[in-house]
């Protein structure tokens, strides 16, 4: 039996979800010089997904994003570790920083540091973990868990 969906939650979700994702990406990039960062950004994105989970259960979360949770986890860890290895292979200190400055035509100049790429890894790891938690929690939040039989 599918649990009934809440109209208010659904409507709010439609309004909030995309905005929250945009905010999370903003936080991810703002983190270099201002409050924010990969962890915080990932948590905000995780919060948005949590809202999805509350509204429609696991199916809806799965439908929102391509791939499975551990793909995000793996990719995130790879990006973060890759940044550490990148500097090592070049003979530098582990995790030292390099900044790339590029001209993006219309938008203007943009600066990308390796620290930001590292943060992208952290962001992905947090999102992956949140998704894994939902997988662990089960199909729908309204299903209440029951202790196993004890044969007493």
């Amino acid at each position: 039996m599918r649990p009934r969906r809440s109209l208010i939650l659904d409507t709010t979700l439609r309004l909030v979800f995309d905005a929250a994702l945009v905010l999370s990406v903003y936080l991810l990039f703002a983190g270099h010089n201002q409050p924010g960062g990969g962890f915080v950004g990932g948590l905000v994105a995780g919060g948005a997904l949590g809202l999805r989970y509350l509204a429609g259960g696991l199916d809806e979360v799965r439908a929102t994003l391509p791939g499975r949770p551990w793909h995000y986890l793996s990719a995130g860890l790879l990006v973060a570790v890759g940044m550490a290895l990148r500097s090592l292979v070049g003979g530098g200190a582990p995790l030292d920083q390099t900044a790339y400055t590029g001209d993006l035509l219309v938008i203007g100049t943009a600066k990308l540091t390796t620290a930001t790429i590292f943060d992208v890894g952290v962001y992905l790891i947090v999102v992956g973990l949140v998704l894994l938690i939902f997988e662990g929690l089960g199909e729908h939040p309204s299903e209440s868990p029951v202790p196993e039989e004890h044969g007493s």
Binding site: N33, Q34, F39, G136, P145, P147, E148, H150
Partner: protein
């Protein structure tokens, strides 16, 4: 200000310790969390007196020590992770035992039982006399 922080840390740690000594898992977990917060406050306190934020403005002279804040942030994230693991473990414990109590230590019970037997034997001897 410092005294207030120190007292806060003390109260948090004391309450946490009290709760950890209980037999209910849920209380133990809350206790661990409070203990963690108390220690985090202590860590913030170790940075000395407060000051201006570090990153704002160019000509800040009296800024706060940023290192303890970074340390506390790390510590908070770690505590958060471990507490959630503990909660999952407590939930698992509830699923397999349908109970929230910390179980008796098997070894402890055995020793206690043997001690009781020993006492009983002595009691019998006394009765015979």
């Amino acid at each position: 200000m410092s005294v207030l922080m120190a007292v806060t840390a003390g109260v948090l740690c004391a309450t946490g310790t009290y709760l950890v000594l209980g037999r209910q898992l849920s209380r133990v977990i809350i206790g661990i969390a409070m203990l963690g917060h108390g220690v985090n406050v202590l860590l913030v306190l170790s940075g000395g007196d407060g000051g201006d934020p570090v990153l704002v403005g160019e000509d800040v002279t009296d800024f706060a020590d940023p290192l303890p804040q970074a340390l506390v942030l790390t510590a908070i994230v770690i505590t958060f992770g471990v507490i959630s693991f503990l909660l999952a473990l407590a939930y698992r414990s509830w699923v397999v035992t349908a109970d929230d109590e910390v179980e008796d230590d098997v070894e402890d019970r055995r020793i206690a039982r043997e001690a009781e037997h020993l006492l009983d034997d002595r009691g019998d001897e006394g009765a015979e006399r």
